[in-house]
């Protein structure tokens, strides 16, 4: 099965070329430029290479003025005639070819779809072009940064994760959607939420409450928290995917809605907040479109254990890994200078345990929706 030959566009398929948007044309041009570079180098007898902007921690900078993570200018050479890079070089070009095919046919596919589209056995060997999905994903990101094109522009999307309810009406791919009438499941946030695909029609909400997980989100939706407080309720199923982050950023910037985050009291929760606020290291090149420097952190706070008089049995002991991670986060430049955040992290470390949002259920099933969040919103008591 896996050994099937890569699908090559037949003449009939090529005839069915879709109409290209201006963005598509630009992307196509840079894709062809990638191939032209190879031809140029090879015909001059030089060993071909591609310059891929580095996506490591060493190549990201925190911009204190913009308050987001930005990618530096350092680039890695990816050479064909280098033993450790030959395979990735080939994969990079394969991904480029796959994206061109998608754009020309006007179709989009998931990263998993692209993986299957490109996976085949290299002729004359037993080697696969891609061994698994994990082999393919970083290469797709490399192509994005190399061409300075967004994933959407390459006609590739990530799997849908995250949901939304609230007083907002929008148009998604031509269908009008009323997010206040989405039942218990909510509106599944697609991975591509760019202006061409999604337009806001009307919004009455006052703010956005972003929670970490599906379970907490359901609690809020069932208690009709968003109706009572006139807000939009979203979750990102852990680390929010690009679609969710982009949508939050668009709503924040275009509709002027403040964003509050309710996350677990553990290093992972802090990091999610940091990603929403400043952008992630891995996708630093997208920070400008996705980061929301104005996001606020409601909780859970380390001090809430005493404030809410929680039962000791709901605490979870910090693992060695957690402690290591917390210390790392405390040293991030965007946390380093914030005394309240340093205090918060130190408090968690001295507590020696972490708390999940669900721990509040031990007080009362609806404690979090009826007391915890409303109180903090009323007091405007949050971390920045």
């Amino acid at each position: 099965m896996a050994k099937k030959k890569a699908k090559r566009p037949t003449p009939a398929q090529q005839a069915r070329k879709a109409k290209l948007t201006a963005k598509d044309k630009k992307t196509l041009k840079s894709l062809i430029g990638l191939a032209d570079g190879v031809v140029r180098q090879a015909s001059r007898g030089r060993a071909p290479y591609i310059e891929v902007p580095s996506r490591s921690l060493s190549n990201v900078k925190y911009s204190p003025t913009k308050k987001i993570i930005e990618m530096g200018s350092s680039k890695n050479k990816r050479e064909l005639f280098n033993l450790s890079q030959a395979r990735t070089y080939m994969q990079t070009l394969l991904v480029g070819r796959g994206c061109k095919e998608l754009i020309e046919q006007g179709k989009t596919t998931s990263i998993r779809g692209l993986y299957y589209l490109l996976k085949h056995t290299i002729e004359g060997t037993k080697e696969e072009t891609f061994n698994d999905q994990g082999d393919c994903d970083p290469v797709i990101e490399d192509v994005e940064v190399t061409l300075n094109a967004l994933r959407e522009e390459l006609h590739v999307y990530a799997s849908n994760r995250g949901a939304m309810v609230g007083n907002i009406q929008l148009i998604d791919s031509g269908d009008e959607i009323d997010c206040s009438r989405m039942g218990s499941g909510g509106y599944a946030i697609p991975s591509i939420v760019e202006e061409e695909v999604m337009q806001f029609v009307n919004c009455d909400a006052d703010f956005i409450l972003h929670v970490e997980k599906d379970t907490v989100w359901r609690r809020f939706n069932e208690d009709k928290f968003w109706k009572e407080h006139n807000c939009i309720l979203t979750h990102g199923n852990g680390q929010p995917p690009r679609g969710v982050r982009r949508l939050l950023s668009r709503m924040h910037n275009e509709l002027g809605l403040p964003i509050f985050c309710l996350l677990d009291n553990d290093p992972w929760g802090y990091y999610i907040y940091s990603v929403i606020k400043q952008g992630s290291i891995n996708l630093a090149y997208e920070s400008r479109r996705m980061a929301i420097p104005g996001a606020k952190f409601i909780g859970l706070r380390s001090r809430d254990y005493e404030l809410c008089e929680l039962n000791p049995s709901v605490t979870i002991k910090l693992s060695d890994n957690d402690i290591k991670r917390a210390n790392q986060i405390a040293k991030y430049p965007w946390f380093e200078k914030k005394k309240r955040w340093q205090k918060e992290i130190q408090k968690m470390l001295s507590n020696g345990f972490k708390l999940e949002v669900e721990a509040l259920i031990s007080k009362d099933i609806s404690y979090v929706t009826q007391e915890y969040v409303p109180e903090r919103l009323a007091e405007a008591n949050f971390l920045d």
Partner: protein, 666 residues
């Protein structure tokens, strides 16, 4: 009690203690017999300056009895000497002189004759011919064990003279006397049609000895086959014709016509003489002064040195030898040890030489890489000696080349109780691990007996032996020689084996667990040449542990080891480069296709461009520097290395930097 005391003859002593001479069991007896006869033949031929050609024939006469005939083309033996040489123990030309030769004591062949007489009652038959026109002498001999004297049995104690030519041939035929009268005609497959093969050349002189002994014929480790093969390696100037009991003729042809240089006889060196021997030598000296005695009986003793010895011993330089008392002798002995005396001259040793070692090894042992090294001569206890090492790497294991028929026969012959034992004992270099692997692959039980295998099981075993990769677990094989004579027993006791095991072979690219032989398809040959080889026992099976000898062995092994290391690293490098190129070439097609799909350039065009770049890039890598910073190229192995290209069918052997005339080493 006192009445019962009487003297014991040497023959009686050895008849009862035959294990001391290497006749402990029937299998070893066969080997020892062949060995003693072949060694004598080789010594005789070389001394006479004749390129040795030796026929060895073994035939089975009864279940436990074999007839062994060995003939050479040597100078022959004078008629009156024949009975003494073959019918008297401790009679020979080699014991009293200090000269490099195979035999030392003069026990060997007469002991074999005695063993035959004891076990089968058959006499030793000797044919000896001095020249082409003179008659050949024929004797049937026995040893009188009581008196250690020969008894001639045929022709009423006179022996038989067989005239030369046709008349003699008829007599021989009638009396059933065996004699190879002509050299075998080499086969010329490329002989043109109609062209007559050349006439066989008559054997001009030589000696043939035939014995019938109780013996057991078995192949494998410690066998006659192994001995002859090893002999062929160390003696590339010898041609051997060996007809085994199954009627198969093995021929090892000489790879050089150049005889080893004649070894010179030397006088003993003072350091190598013990007190007892010194006293005897003093007694032998009829007249003269002590100074005269010292200067004339020993090497490296000048009048000045003699004076110093005398001064140290507090003996007058002019005192006559007759007047030297036992105490004085003791003083002189001690004085000798204290006095500084020049090391003995070493020109009395004739090494095989690096070039001939390579040739001999290559002729007999299959492999990919050969290297040889001859150490400069050195001295132990006043005896000069010289070490030579050679090494062959690669080639198939004996277990992998064995034919189905041979395996059938081997299984038939073996007396090993389990299959595992059979594998380990029969095939050289097959360790316990490899045997285990083969048995696992064939799903044989651990206690299976080889004699009970069914035919289909033997077939399965054969398949497994062919296919299982045993070279990992294969341990190094050591070929030991003393004065060109192979040593086949007491491997663990021998100074050579001990030295090999103590060395660190890991730095030369072989794997080795502590205190063991290294593993890998390697054969190491070590040759000790000396005027007096220090064996651990009379059966001449292991070399004694002298520090000086072990040091020289180590240095020699290090020389060949270093070159092996270079070869292995180089091969690794080549392999890596090949893999590198493969990796690139593998991806080029994909890259070219992707590029062509992206911008519409012709796929083949870009592919060709890329291949050209790939070639250039990896070529650059070919001339990378090795770990010493030298450019890695062929031919920096130094002298005396032989590399066989991958494809042996080409038959092309390239000789790298092989210095043709042997280097002068002393």
């Amino acid at each position: 009690m006192a009445a019962k005391q009487r003297s014991i003859s040497v023959s009686e002593f050895f008849a009862k203690n035959r294990h001391l001479l290497g006749f402990d069991n029937p299998r070893k007896a066969l080997l020892t017999t062949v060995k003693e006869a072949v060694d004598n033949s080789l010594d005789a031929c070389e001394e006479a300056g004749i390129g040795p050609e030796i026929w060895v024939t073994i035939t089975q006469t009864e279940p436990d009895r074999y007839k062994v005939s060995i003939q050479d083309n040597g100078p022959g033996i004078l008629k009156k000497q024949i009975p003494l040489i073959f019918g008297k123990l401790l009679y020979g030309s080699k014991f009293h002189r200090l000269r490099m030769s195979r035999g030392q004591q003069g026990i060997g062949i007469s002991a074999a004759g005695m063993y035959g007489m004891l076990t089968t009652g058959k006499p030793v038959k000797i044919v000896s011919k001095l020249s082409i026109r003179k008659p050949a002498h024929y004797y049937e001999l026995q040893i009188d064990t009581k008196t250690n004297n020969p008894q001639i049995l045929n022709n009423r104690g006179d022996g038989l003279d067989i005239p030369a030519g046709e008349k003699g041939r008829v007599i021989m035929e009638k009396k059933k006397i065996e004699w190879e009268s002509h050299y075998p005609v080499p086969e010329f497959p490329e002989l043109a049609e109609g062209q007559e093969p050349p006439d066989p050349v008559e054997v001009r002189s030589g000696t043939r000895v035939t014995l019938e002994i109780e013996a057991k014929y078995q192949r494998g480790r410690g066998s006659v086959d192994e001995y002859l093969e090893m002999t062929a390696i160390a003696n590339p100037h010898v041609t051997l014709h060996y007809l085994d009991p199954e009627g198969t003729l093995h021929t090892y042809s000489r790879s050089t016509d150049q005889l080893p240089p004649e070894a010179k006889e030397i006088k003993p060196h003072p350091y190598g003489v013990e007190l007892g021997r010194l006293v005897t030598m003093l007694k032998e000296m009829k007249e003269g002064t002590i100074t005269q005695f010292l200067t004339s009986s020993f090497s490296r003793v000048s009048p000045a040195v003699a004076r110093r010895i005398c001064e140290a011993a507090d003996v007058s330089t002019r005192s006559g030898v007759k007047k030297i008392s036992r105490d004085d002798a003791d003083k002189i002995y001690k004085a000798i040890q204290k006095t500084k005396i020049k090391a003995p001259s070493t020109d009395c040793i004739a090494p095989i030489g690096e070039e001939l070692l390579l040739k001999g090894l290559h002729q007999v042992v299959p492999g990919e890489f050969y290297v040889a090294a001859t150490r400069p001569p050195s001295v132990y206890r006043g005896n000069p000696f010289q070490i030579e090492c050679a090494l062959a790497y690669g080639g198939q294991n004996a277990a992998q080349k064995v034919s189905k028929e041979l395996l059938d026969r081997l299984i038939d012959e073996t007396d090993a109780r389990t299959l595992r034992q059979f594998l380990m004992n029969t095939f050289d270099g097959l360790g316990a691990d490899s045997a285990e692997k083969i048995m696992k692959a064939g799903e044989f039980g651990s206690r299976q007996s080889p004699s009970k295998l069914k035919q289909e099981e033997i077939d399965r075993l054969h398949d497994c032996m062919k296919n299982v990769n045993v070279s990992d677990g294969q341990s190094m094989q050591i070929l030991r020689y003393a004065n060109r004579v192979p040593l086949q027993f007491k491997m663990r006791d021998c100074a050579i084996t001990q030295t090999v095991m103590k060395m660190n072979w890991r730095s030369y690219g072989l794997s080795q667990s502590r205190g063991n032989l290294p593993s890998g398809p390697v054969r190491v040959m070590v040759h000790l040449a000396s005027v007096w080889v220090p064996f651990t026992s009379e059966s001449k099976e292991a070399i004694a542990h002298y520090d000086e000898i072990q040091k020289e062995i180590r240095l020699g092994l290090q020389t060949v080891g270093r070159k092996l290391g270079m070869f292995l690293r180089r091969r690794q490098q080549v392999k890596k480069e090949g893999e590198r190129r493969n990796v690139f070439v593998r991806y080029l097609g994909e890259v070219a296709q992707a590029v062509s799909d992206l911008n519409g350039v012709e796929r083949d065009d870009i592919y060709n461009h890329l291949t050209r770049v790939a070639k250039r890039v990896t070529k650059e890598a070919d001339t990378k520097l090795d770990d010493r910073g030298n450019k890695v190229t062929e031919g920096n192995y130094g002298d005396n290395v032989l590399i066989i290209p991958d494809n042996p069918e080409d038959g092309l052997t390239e000789q790298v930097n092989n210095t043709t005339p042997q280097k002068k080493l002393f």
